[in-house]
């Protein structure tokens, strides 16, 4: 079997592949480091052990899922105590629990979410305490 105009066809296919994968290449070239959320608030500085509900990596990877689970636990089961993997107990509350420590929403939540283009709508309903610093 003979391929007529083989050079043109193969070149065309190559150009097509390059064009269609542009978003991936572009992302690679332009990739910037993930913004670092700020953990500097007065409450966190005063903590003896600087630990969130779970360890830092877990919170970083799973906070959205964890927040949903905590919401379900409070709303569906009426259980307001979160027992961490290491046995510590926490009262579940977004506004006074999570944001009690992380009172710097713009430097903690927004910095990352803006960086990755995520737009969670927590604060269209939940109270956002006045920012410290």
């Amino acid at each position: 079997m003979k391929l007529y105009d083989g050079g043109k066809i193969i070149a065309g296919i190559l150009i097509f592949l390059i064009l269609i994968t542009i978003p991936f290449w572009y992302g690679r070239i332009k990739a910037t480091a993930l913004p670092e959320p700020s953990l500097a608030t007065e409450t966190i500085d005063r903590l003896e052990e600087r630990k969130c509900l779970e360890d830092r990596q877990y919170m970083r990877n799973n906070h959205a899922k964890l927040l949903t689970e905590l919401k379900n636990q409070v709303v569906r089961e009426g259980n307001r105590i979160y027992v961490a993997k290491d046995g510590r107990k926490h009262t579940i509350s977004l506004s006074s629990g999570c944001l009690g420590c992380h009172s710097n929403k713009s430097k903690f939540c927004d910095r990352c979410h803006d960086g990755v283009g995520a737009k969670p709508n927590c604060f269209s309903c939940h109270h956002q305490p006045k920012e410290v610093r």
Binding site: R76, N79, I81, K89, S95, N121, S124, C125, H126
Partner: protein, 257 residues
């Protein structure tokens, strides 16, 4: 390969065992589930209910309504079509259409009665909710998970009491003073009375009950024979809103005039 009788029986046995597995696993999972960690200070009940002695209710007293709406950041829109109402006040004849006759004493005819979610035993709002956003708690409270509400308003059509309101507009700007301890709702979400579930968890009585200057409202455990509410209900006739519909409302209106 042709199957003989013995092999067919073996396969059938295995299939039967396999079918029996899921129910057993669910049963085990339910048993191993950690029971809710409820602090001792929380108010709990087997079956929550409320009794309102309307004879004590001072006519057109807004205290329970104000307390509830301030507690839960309920917006007040001027346009009645956008009105959000967790607890309201209606004339006796409108609340109990079956009791409205021409011999009704004037004191009752002119009386305004507090109305809110009846936390029905058989709630139509729960049955029609397509996302499970409205659900029944084991302790009798008909609850809403606002995160799950898609604003379809089936529940509003299902509720025979008009106890549910739709946020047609963004509620935030219409809340006079925001209570930071309770979240707002968003436009496109339905809301209603939650029996002050969040206050019960802190060991406080519902806001309307606590605010009533006449102590006309009583909450309690209907499953507990020795509770105050059971004592009140055993003292005479109690009216329920449109009980004939079979919704099983758990708010009882007493008349001890």
């Amino acid at each position: 390969m042709p199957l003989n009788r013995r092999e067919i029986l073996k396969i059938a046995g295995c299939l039967g065992l396999g079918l029996a597995c899921p129910p057993m696993i669910y049963e085990l999972a339910a048993k191993t589930k950690r029971p809710g960690d409820v602090p001792a200070s929380a108010l709990t009940a087997g079956s929550w209910g409320m009794a309102i002695d309307i004879a004590k209710c001072r006519n057109r007293c807004p205290d329970c309504i104000t307390a509830c709406h301030e507690e839960h950041n309920v917006p007040s829109f001027l346009d009645s079509r956008h009105q959000i109402r967790w607890i309201g006040s209606e004339p006796f004849g409108a609340v109990f259409p079956g009791q409205d006759h021409r011999m009704l004493p004037e004191s009752l005819k002119s009386l305004s009665v507090p109305v809110f979610c009846n936390h029905c035993d058989n709630p139509p709002c729960v049955r029609v909710c397509p996302t499970g956003a409205t659900f029944k708690r084991p302790d009798g409270i008909t609850m809403m998970d606002y995160h799950r509400c898609i604003g379809c308003r089936f529940c509003m059509a299902g509720c025979p009491y008009g106890s549910r309101s739709m946020n047609w507009r963004e509620p935030g700007p219409a809340v006079k003073k925001i209570n930071p301890n309770y979240p707002l709702r968003a436009a496109g979400v339905v809301e209603k009375c939650n029996f002050c579930e969040e206050r019960l968890a802190q060991g406080k009585l519902p806001a309307c009950v606590a605010a009533c200057p006449q102590k006309a409202m009583t909450v309690g455990d209907l499953a507990d024979e020795r509770s105050e509410i059971r004592r009140l209900l055993s003292g005479g006739l109690a009216l329920r809103r449109r009980g004939e519909l079979g919704t099983g409302p758990q708010v009882y209106y007493l008349w001890r005039g």
